[in-house]
């Protein structure tokens, strides 16, 4: 019964979205206030209906209703509750439902907080948002319906892929989707502005918070996924340049570019048509990502529910929205005139450089991801484009970005003075060079990557500190730091986060130590500065798996510093083994222990890694997200958002 209600609510949401996609658009064109006003209640109704539908599906998973095909395929009665819930989006149909739920949520949020928008712009934004919605409701209802019943319900389900039964991965998709789909609002704003033929500082101010929010969610989502790969896949890789990872990375790069170029629109009324184009591209890349994951055109670890029919459907959505908006852009972009005038050395120019580097980096990832497809179709060559290519082709642009960032972020608007900034940045520069020199001399392997990465990280962190300190001027009145706008703090924290992240990536890749061997019980061996001893191995039974659990002591200078329990699990229902690495997390390094098979000659296969600075990668990502949130809480957005309180402030409803 509840399932049918959910199904019905989804169909109703589809119909509401159809109305919302047409009526406000016509109203905005004809200047009919009544028709425009339809958008807001429609957006709210649409959200509530999808929420109901999503709740119904969640109910089916939680109560293990095996009359539902989707629950049978992806759940099991013995599965822990957390994974019964995360199982809702751990499959194609359910994740698409989450997709439209978030799409409707962002539409509703634009309706609730958009009280200060001109009515015609708001009507158009919500109308375009609903058009995207219509396409995806149709996709779900006609090709991927999660509410299909089975005539003969089986006794129990087939369980969720055990790799997905993990706290890190339970929350990875929702965050990623919040980011992906959040960019739809920027897209709607861009398309609406093109129809209106008007982009001004106010537009930049409205779009920026949405971009920031999406970017923060994407950052968290990608970091969670990467952290999961690190501890779950068993060898501590954190990024594989897999097509699906790239699919989430490309919108992230473009969202980062967009949130910087929107500043130029907001403050200086320049870069307008480029910013519009970026907003269109950022969401288009989200759609491309969805297409890559769902169509199976590029094989990948992540691809689920690969189905040509679905792929063609999403390709059609992609072509219609990207093609349509780009056509609109070509027709209308000329209307927008830049107003701000600025010198060659200025913050504006620095942000242009930022956009060039981020966009080109995104392009490199895009070309590399699609090249195997292109080569096969056009040149009949079956080839692979893997990590070595991306590391080589992508990294230079990021290094350049890191080098320029502290300088560019301190330049003043309109006309900056390089000499003054260089003088202020001398300490940061010297510190970075000293770090590079120090690590160049003490490291064992003579790779340049470690010293360069650490120097870049130092340069970025010290540059951010210099930037913040420069804001209090010569007064040395540190209390003024607390009164600085939060956007300034956000900027410094996020930029420092990028530095921490870069240092982490370089440190881990340059100085990782590895040891593979057959370990005998009670016979210690040394790896790097540590002594490792496998003390015991036991068979343990979990709720829906068996485990072979080792007990490992880690000693440093004869003193035990950690006791680790690496596991090897077998999930009998899903018929799949997983490795659960045991990690001793420390600030400067992780000790990463994996247990393998028992050897016939006695002993167990063991892999031990020393991973320097591993946590910095995710720590940096957290700092970046935190910086984004700080910036988002800046007064000027709150003022902009709450300028006209037509809606009682009730915040974002909890899901």
């Amino acid at each position: 019964m509840i399932t049918e209600l959910g199904h019905f609510a989804l169909i109703l949401a589809f119909l509401v979205a159809c109305v919302q996609a047409v009526v406000p658009m016509v109203g905005a064109q004809k200047r009919w206030p009544g028709w425009m006003a339809v958008a807001e209640p429609a957006a709210t109704a649409q959200f509530l209906l999808v929420l109901l539908s999503f709740a119904a599906l969640t109910h089916a998973f939680v109560t293990s209703d095996f009359s539902l095909r989707l629950v049978v395929m992806n759940s099991h009665s013995a599965k822990p509750m957390l994974y019964k819930i995360s199982g809702v989006w751990g499959n194609h149909e359910g994740s698409m439902l989450l997709w439209v739920l978030i799409l409707a949520l962002f539409g509703a949020m634009a309706a609730w907080f958009g009280g200060n928008l001109p009515p015609s712009l708001r009507a158009r934004v919500l109308g375009i948002q609903a058009m995207v919605g219509v396409a995806f409701y149709a996709f779900i209802l006609f090709t991927s319906n999660p509410f299909l019943r089975l005539a003969v319900p089986p006794f129990d389900g087939q369980d969720l892929n055990p790799l997905l039964q993990d706290p890190g991965l339970a929350f990875h998709p929702p965050f990623l989707y919040l980011g992906y789909v959040g960019l739809s609002i920027c897209f709607s704003f861009a398309a609406a502005a093109l129809i209106e033929g008007r982009v001004d500082a106010a537009w930049g101010r409205w779009v920026r918070p949405w971009t920031l929010l999406s970017w923060v969610f994407l950052t968290i989502g990608i970091a969670l996924g990467s952290w999961w790969a690190y501890y779950e896949l068993g060898w501590g890789g954190f990024w594989f340049w897999d097509p699906v990872e790239n699919a989430s990375f490309m919108p992230w790069l473009l969202a980062a570019a967009l949130l910087h170029s929107a500043i130029v629109v907001e403050k200086r009324e320049a870069l307008k048509s480029w910013t519009i184009l970026l907003a269109i591209l950022a969401f288009s890349f989200s759609l491309i990502g969805t297409f890559i994951v769902r169509s199976g055109v590029l094989t990948s670890v992540h691809a689920f529910a690969t189905d040509p029919e679905r792929g063609v459907f999403i390709l059609a959505i992609l072509v219609i929205f990207t093609g349509g908006s780009l056509t609109l852009y070509a027709a209308r972009a000329g209307v927008m005139q830049a107003k701000g005038v600025f010198g060659v050395v200025s913050r504006e120019s620095a942000l242009v450089a930022n956009n060039i580097l981020l966009a080109v980096a995104c392009f490199v990832v895009f070309v590399g991801t699609l090249w195997p497809l292109v080569a096969e179709m056009l040149f009949q060559r079956k080839l692979s484009v893997g990590a070595p290519f991306f590391n080589m082709a992508f990294t230079p642009f990021m290094v350049l970005l890191g080098l320029l960032l502290p300088i560019g972020s301190m330049l003043s608007w309109k006309r900056g003075k390089l000499g003054r900034i260089f003088r202020q940045l001398v300490p940061a520069m010297l510190l970075a060079l000293a770090v590079a020199g120090l690590f160049w001399t003490i490291q064992t392997g003579r790779s340049l990557m470690g010293p360069i990465g650490l120097a870049l990280g130092t340069w970025l962190v010290a540059g951010s500190v210099t930037d913040i300190l420069s804001r209090i001027g010569q007064s040395r009145d540190y209390r003024r730091l607390l009164r600085l706008p939060r956007a300034d703090w956000g900027k410094a924290v996020a930029h420092a986060g990028l530095g921490v992240c870069m240092a982490g990536v370089a440190g881990l890749m340059a100085w990782q130590q590895e040891d593979i061997r057959v370990a005998q019980l009670g016979e210690p061996f040394t790896v790097g500065a540590y002594e490792i001893e496998l003390q015991d191995v036991q068979r343990v039974q979990g709720p829906n798996y068996f485990s072979t659990m080792g007990e490992v002591a880690v000693r440093e200078d004869g003193r035990e510093i950690a006791h680790l329990y690496p596991e090897k699990r077998d999930y009998p229902v899903a018929k799949m083994p997983t490795t659960e690495a045991a990690i001793d997390y420390r600030f400067l390094r992780d000790v990463y222990v994996v247990i393998g098979d028992q050897q016939t000659a006695g002993g167990w296969t063991m892999r031990v890694y020393i991973k320097p600075l591993a946590n910095w990668i995710w720590g940096g990502a957290i700092l970046m997200a935190l910086g984004g949130l700080l910036s988002l809480s800046d007064r000027r957005f709150r003022v902009a958002a709450g300028a006209r309180k037509t809606v009682p402030a009730k915040g974002v409803p909890a899901e």
């Binding site: 009665s77 013995a78 006794f155 129990d156 068993g234 060898w235 890789g237 340049w241 897999d242 097509p243 094989t299 990948s300 670890v301 830049a338 107003k339 701000g340 005038v341 600025f342 060659v344 504006e348 242009v352 450089a353 956009n355 060039i356 080109v360 980096a361 392009f363 490199v364 070309v367 090249w371 080569a375 056009l378 040149f379 060559r381 079956k382 080839l383 692979s384 484009v385 893997g386 070595p388 290519f389 082709a393 642009f397 593979i516 057959v518 039974q541 829906n544 068996f546 090897k568 077998d570 009998p572 018929k575 083994p577 997983t578 490795t579 994996v594 393998g596 098979d597 296969t605 892999r607």
Partner: protein, 163 residues
Amino acid sequence: MTGLGMLRKLAMLLALVLAMGTVLPGPVLAVQPDEMLDDPALEARARELSKGLRCLVCQNENIDDSNASLARDLRLMVRERLVAGDSDEEVVAFLVDRYGEFVLLQPTTGGWNWLLWAAGPLLFVLAVVTGGIYIRNRSRAAPATEAGLTPEEKARLEEILKG
């Protein structure tokens, strides 16, 4: 309810017992101790080469990280060639001969692949030129355009002032 719960527990138990009877494929960890060469220099070369070779049945994984049995075969093949005295290039050429360029994670620059490698730098140059022209135009634009309203804006301003 309790009856159903009991049944479910029984089913789970049954599944567990069945699973114990059958042999589950254990997660064969990537590089195994028994595969490794005694000569550390040779082994290091093997590891480095493995990182650039694709496990053909996997999805975008190199043979060094992969758990697949084919990846193990390839790893052993790499080591065999190295022990036989092949240079790094010869080992790679041997594998490309057998499995095609699909096995290379780092694509060659041959044929149209130069476009793949040049795409980023080319776009970068193009973007820098375009961006440079844009910045030059902005720095030379008459600041007068900032002042003054367009006729529509004037009309709108009047509208707002009246309203």
